[in-house]
Symmetry: C2
Subunit: 458 residues, 2 copies
């Protein structure tokens, strides 16, 4: 490939590309709001047209029980790997509308940033993949690899129908690598490839004591207080350093290699800046792990809420009838959410305080995800970024959970490459969402290059 | 005194007495509601008339910043002790009105029980003292002791102005014994003299972490969670048996004599019945003390409420910015509320978890109260009950706190005798409040007898 020719193509077509992206962004495809059902269909049709214009084939809209899935492919690179590109055409709601400087569905470029709902999350990033394919097909008439697109309309509402779709269309979606551009870079000018996410498991604990609230004067000291009981349970989960005391909790935690940890250390994470940002005077957690490591490669157990007793102003001397707490764990490879929930339950059972009954309710679970960071597809993405940005690529994990990524990993059994072009400052899910066009321009080149990098793998 | 003559007097005047009490009960003297301000004045004036009719002297209404205090005396028993009778003429609100079987301020006798707001708490019991005096003065022209009445109109709203009034009128109120009839018996036919109450001290603990709620995926494991921090603090307060771990907490707790504890054991408290009533399968607390002892003679520390994080349905993976808890201690003699609050604060300070800030707010305090159970005035009350009811009197304490009792004890330095005629089933503060007239009839005789018992003390 002539990289200069590709770069020139993107320069020559920049205005056209931005105009096309704006037309995509003008469609208010808010998946959460039923009044936008027709907009969802319109956005799906917009994609079909864009796919066909790019030279992709077999473009189709597949109905689901919710919003449709859009598919297209180009499969003429015989003997070469197949890349599956996942993204979503739905966007978040726009409330509070009055905080937007310009209307969310009237895209506007200011200061080389494109403002609109979906500009970065995720229409802008999906669009870049389409245009990269289009450029190569226009310039060379062919692609170095096979490509499939699967773009869904329900990511912002938790992808309720996608796992079933993937399950039922395994042959259609069969590939060698999945590429997702729906995350962010390390910072301006600092490209990152994310290769791991934490999973999720959680329970609600309900403690019941006396059948009604009691007067703490009349009964205090002789009746177990459900609030004390729940405190006793919750305290038993962690030690003062945050180390989780649930038996077997760490059994399946994969050791992370020294090399990988050295890479984390080399990221020069600015702890003081971070502490200032979130407003804490000291960080917390396992002393053998850095801030970044605690959030990327270590599992957690967090209390997300406690309720019980009197919460008004002042004093009420009540011994409450019940107390409740919600806890969630972030999991790392190879922890299994079902196994962790079973261990949490066993822990509560064996730490049940005297004088109360305890009930447990399970929450939805998500598996952790990991593509080995030295996987060729991950390293290749790093090379593509470095060629365009001129700096080494950060290989990162993320502390959060994207259940659909784990589902892809699990159902299709493929390496997933999270190749994001967003920035943390771009107001995903908030008013004035925008996309830095520097990363739009560079991203087109990174994606084009990556297809050639993947072609060299095997 | 001729006890038979007194008994006959009460029998002869029963209808008149009940009619008079009903006229008192018809006045809706709800201290909490400002629209009843004139009713408060009317109730005070009703008392003045009743005092004068009884033969009491110096009857007067003393204004306070709130509702007035009513005073009267009879001081012609030279060389004899003076008994100060405290009570209140205000009543609780009547909501929810629709649950009353008959209107709260239209007294009605059904099944030998007098139904009306204030029938038992406390107009009925105050009225008995007035009529006992009246009977003796009518029959004999004199009393065996000196008597003073102080009846306030703000007990149901926490007696905000009474301590100042008592402080400023120490000469007027100077006495040898304070008698209060505003509590209950052990049960039907089971008289009780209460000689001790627990005190109260409490704090609110506010834990602050990051400046805003954080995503538990992005930050979980590296930032202290205020909910975990408050759990750590709360758990540090007690051990699993309920024993309080605050340094010096038990230092000033008076030992209770074996004899007194034998008296408690002899009360034949029905633990199984109590457990069934409040709906617990097992009781809780210090193993060296009985259920009754834990609530009467042992101090407590109870969490009354915890708030923090997400309390809606389902899951929200938040690491909250703050958490809060309210705790109160019930105190026993000679614990001092100020000292206990200082110890609680020192405890929190020395158990402050890493990574958060902690603020403490103090609540109102109340001292514990104790008249030694073998005090002659207490034992005399027991004899008077036994003569009338024909069964031994229980000498009890109560787990709750009545701040005004401790204030009397503290300001006037007098033994307080809690000589109640109510029953726990009589719906104090609730719809269908009533008073068993058996205890009205017997109570008149107990009170009359008690004045002669006191006359024999010294």
């Amino acid at each position: 490939m002539n990289a200069q020719a590709v770069d020139q193509y993107f320069k020559d077509h920049r205005e056209t590309h931005l105009d096309e992206l704006k037309s995509f962004l003008r469609i208010p495809s808010i998946s959460a709001l039923s009044e936008h059902k027709e907009d969802m269909q319109q956005a799906a049709e917009w994609l079909i047209a864009a796919f066909e214009h790019a030279g992709l084939e077999n473009a189709k809209i597949d109905a689901t029980e919710g919003h449709p899935v859009v598919y297209a492919d180009w499969l003429h690179a015989e003997g070469k790997p197949t890349v599956l590109v996942y993204g979503h055409y739905d966007v978040q709601p726009v409330d509070p509308l009055h905080l937007w400087e310009t209307a969310p569905f009237e895209p506007q470029v200011r200061d080389n940033k494109l403002y609109a709902r979906g500009a970065s999350d995720d229409k802008g990033q999906v669009f870049m993949h389409v245009k990269a394919i289009e450029a190569l097909l226009k310039l060379e008439g062919e692609l170095p690899v096979n490509v499939k697109f699967i773009i869904e309309g329900e990511e912002e509402i938790g992808s309720p129908n996608l796992p079933k779709y993937v399950e039922e269309n395994q042959d259609l979606l069969a590939s060698d690598i999945i590429v997702i551009s729906d995350t962010g870079m390390q910072g301006p000018g600092r490209p990152a490839v994310c290769y791991g996410l934490r999973g999720l498991a959680g329970i609600q604990i309900d403690v019941n004591g006396p059948k009604g609230d009691l007067h703490s004067g009349i009964y205090g000291g002789a009746v177990q207080n459900p609030l004390h009981a729940i405190v006793e349970i919750l305290q038993s989960f962690r030690d003062q350093e945050g180390l989780i005391q649930v038996e077997g909790f760490y059994d399946d935690v994969l050791e992370v290699s020294d090399k990988e940890r050295e890479e984390f250390a080399a990221l020069h994470f600015d702890l003081e800046h971070e502490k200032k940002e979130i407003g804490i005077s000291e960080d917390f957690g396992e002393k053998d792990y850095s801030f970044v490591e605690r959030t990327w490669i270590r599992p957690t157990l967090e209390v997300n809420g406690i309720t019980g007793g009197f919460s008004g102003e002042g004093i009420k001397t009540v011994l409450p009838a019940e107390a409740s707490a919600k806890i969630t764990c972030r999991l790392v490879p190879d922890q299994d959410p079902d196994d962790i929930v079973a261990k949490l339950k066993a822990h509560v059972e064996s730490h049940k305080p005297a004088g109360v009954t305890v009930e447990i309710t399970e929450f939805d679970k998500g598996k952790p995800f990991l593509t080995p960071y030295d996987h060729p597809a991950i390293q290749a993405a790093g090379r593509s970024y470095e060629k365009v940005y001129g700096v080494p690529t950060a290989f990162t994990r993320m502390g959060g959970s994207i259940p659909i990524v784990a589902a892809f990993d699990e159902i299709l059994g493929l390496p997933v490459v999270l190749m994001g072009f967003g920035l943390a400052s771009e107001n995903f899910h908030a008013p004035n969402e925008h996309f830095h066009l520097e990363n739009f321009d560079k991203g087109l080149r990174v994606i084009s290059d990556y297809l050639f990098e993947v072609a060299e793998l095997d």
